[in-house]
């Protein structure tokens, strides 16, 4: 984790000894809930598939081979890339990226609006934003399905105001998945941005305007750089779960709009599943997310002032 800037070496930690013990529960939790399951997955991804859905303890690259290559890497024939899974991943990245951009476009003004309300009404706005999220995600996604279906309320309404002549086919489209993702994770965009705008010192905007900056220049040169950490946090919090989401693509997207989450979920279901393959797919997803986070944090560090001296 990030330590205080600069003179870290010069500061003596009064509670250095106690700190070791105070951090024990955290370490214990992290290892039981994060490190060990990931290690188990890693091990499973290198095991051999057993037909009734389990594994045989025999080391193999078969799962990764199946993911990336059509004809085996170790066979005699020339290597051929297997596009099925890569294209599912590609589509997922696309969908998740789009959901992130949409959430940002809608979430930023929302967060800005809330953060600039009088102090006592802000809590009410935040509360209103979070209310739908007290309902289980599955139920929300199902209701979304009802809302969008051919003779559902949305189509009825559009027909009634005569914007359309016949019902739109919304369900089982990429658009429906997009709406589902966007709706599922919007608050994860709004809340961190709201928090950083609330901390933002609005005198800086006045200073910018005093120095002849237009509203747009004030936004891009002063406000956005100041609240960048909140924006990045929001993007990560929307992008990562969208990438692995399986409820929205399953319920709203149908078979054609399969995403990573559904692919992985299938592998662990019943006898049709393939645990090593599911584990390998998860490890590939995890690696992608980790690389992404590393790139972000590298950039964050670059943007921060170097320590003193």
């Amino acid at each position: 984790m990030e330590h205080s800037k600069g003179a870290a070496g010069a500061v003596t930690d009064t509670y250095a000894k106690e700190r070791v013990w105070l951090l024990m529960p955290t370490w214990l939790m992290l290892s039981i809930l994060v490190v060990i399951p990931v290690l188990i997955m890693l091990v499973y991804s290198f095991l051999t598939k057993e037909f009734r859905g389990g594994v045989i303890w025999e080391f193999t690259f078969a799962a990764y081979d199946q993911f990336f290559f059509d004809r085996g890497l170790f066979g005699d024939e020339p290597v051929k890339i297997e596009w099925t899974y890569i294209s599912i991943y590609w589509r997922s990245i696309w969908q998740a990226g789009l959901a992130t951009v949409l959430s940002l476009l809608l979430g930023f003004p929302t967060a800005y609006y809330i953060a600039t309300r009088p102090q006592n009404s802000r809590a009410v706005w935040v509360f209103l934003i979070t209310i739908p999220y007290w309902v289980n995600l599955l139920i929300r996604t199902v209701s979304m399905k009802f809302l969008l279906r051919e003779n559902g309320p949305l189509n009825d309404f559009l027909l009634m105001i005569e914007v359309i002549d016949e019902p739109l086919r919304l369900i089982n489209t990429a658009l429906a998945v997009q709406l589902g993702l966007f709706y599922s994770y919007l608050p994860f965009m709004v809340l961190p941005i709201y928090a950083s705008i609330e901390r933002y010192n609005f005198t800086l905007s006045e200073a910018a305007s005093d120095l002849y900056a237009t509203k747009f220049a004030t936004l891009t040169r002063v406000i956005l750089p100041s609240i960048k950490p909140g924006v990045i946090a929001g993007c990560i919090l929307v992008f990562v779960p969208s990438l692995g989401a399986f409820l929205a693509p399953d319920l709203l997207g149908g078979a054609k709009n399969f995403m990573i989450g559904s692919l992985i979920e299938e592998q662990f279901k019943g006898s049709a599943g393939n645990w090593p393959f599911g584990a390998a797919a998860s490890m590939i997803l995890l690696s992608m997310v980790l690389i992404l986070l590393m790139v972000f944090s590298r950039q964050q560090k670059k943007a921060q002032p170097q320590g003193g001296q």
Binding site: L204, E206, D210, L211, Y212, A213, R221, S226
Partner: protein, 364 residues
Amino acid sequence: MLPVQNQVAVNVRDLVKQFGDFTALRNVSLAIKDNEFFTLLGPSGCGKTTLLRTIAGFEHQDEGEILLFGDSIAGLPANQRPVNTVFQNYALFPHMSVLENVMFGLEMLGSSKAEARPLAHEMLELVRLGEFAHRKPAQLSGGQAQRVALARALAPKPKVLLLDEPLSALDLKLRKAMQLELKALQRETGITFIFVTHDQEEALTMSDRIAVMSAGEIQQLGSPKDIYEHPDNVFVAGFIGETNLLPVSVDEITNGHAHCHLGGGHKVICSAVEGVAVGNDVHISVRPERLRMSAQPSDQQSLPGTVVETVYVGSDVQSYVQLNEGPLLTIRTQNSALGKQAIFALGTQTYVTMETGAARLLQD
């Protein structure tokens, strides 16, 4: 180039500003001259910041107008007014280096980075921060941040510079040094400074002219000497420097002299002023340094009293004399003037004499 003397830089006319029911500015009118170091002085909450923010364009007046070199700026948003502000908490952009902060205004006015950079360096040299160009604001001391804010506001060469209590966050020694530096900077650049402070000493030290404000109104406008020596009313006399504010009744006015008496019947003569008539109960103001103590009465107007307290304050000695059946007076004597003369001991009978012209009659 010599600035045109007496050209009006900022003309504020009958400005009224309300926040809901609360009136922050009541018919404020001011004419601030070009190349002037002008100070708005008043206690906290009197509307100084509001006036400054209205000139800068961050607030909009409810009534009245502001002219900048003769032109109304009512329709101009803040980012089109050729005035710059030094904010009370500096408001430096934390994600930009010192140099980028100073370049910002120039870039917004259309300069390229290549054009802005040397000018910004020049400004930083002017405030003696050349070596700090590549630091971030978080790595500066209060005094340095203050000077960056100054350089940033001066870089676009504004016609008027607005400074909102820029020194209030600094410690005493730094503040004194910065007062002189600011004054010198104003003289060098020839830019009109409108400086806000609640510190009367700071105002007296730095200003060409001072407007004393209270409760959204201008109480008096004049040179530091004017305001200190000839306060118009009780508020100004009490706010600027230490003074003895004594209630008096006016007995007689002849040849421009008002004959008054204090509580206890002590007689005082001072110049008559407009608006004060015979029979009025008003106040006079006498500065402590313009009172003398002696063992014997030095003229008919010496007031008898008793020394009740003596305080040593470094360069001066401050004595408190209770006039017989009258008010308590504060008297300040320079230590060097005292010489070998003994400090008046507690309980000593003494006579207090006012210097000619020291007592000033005030409207309430």
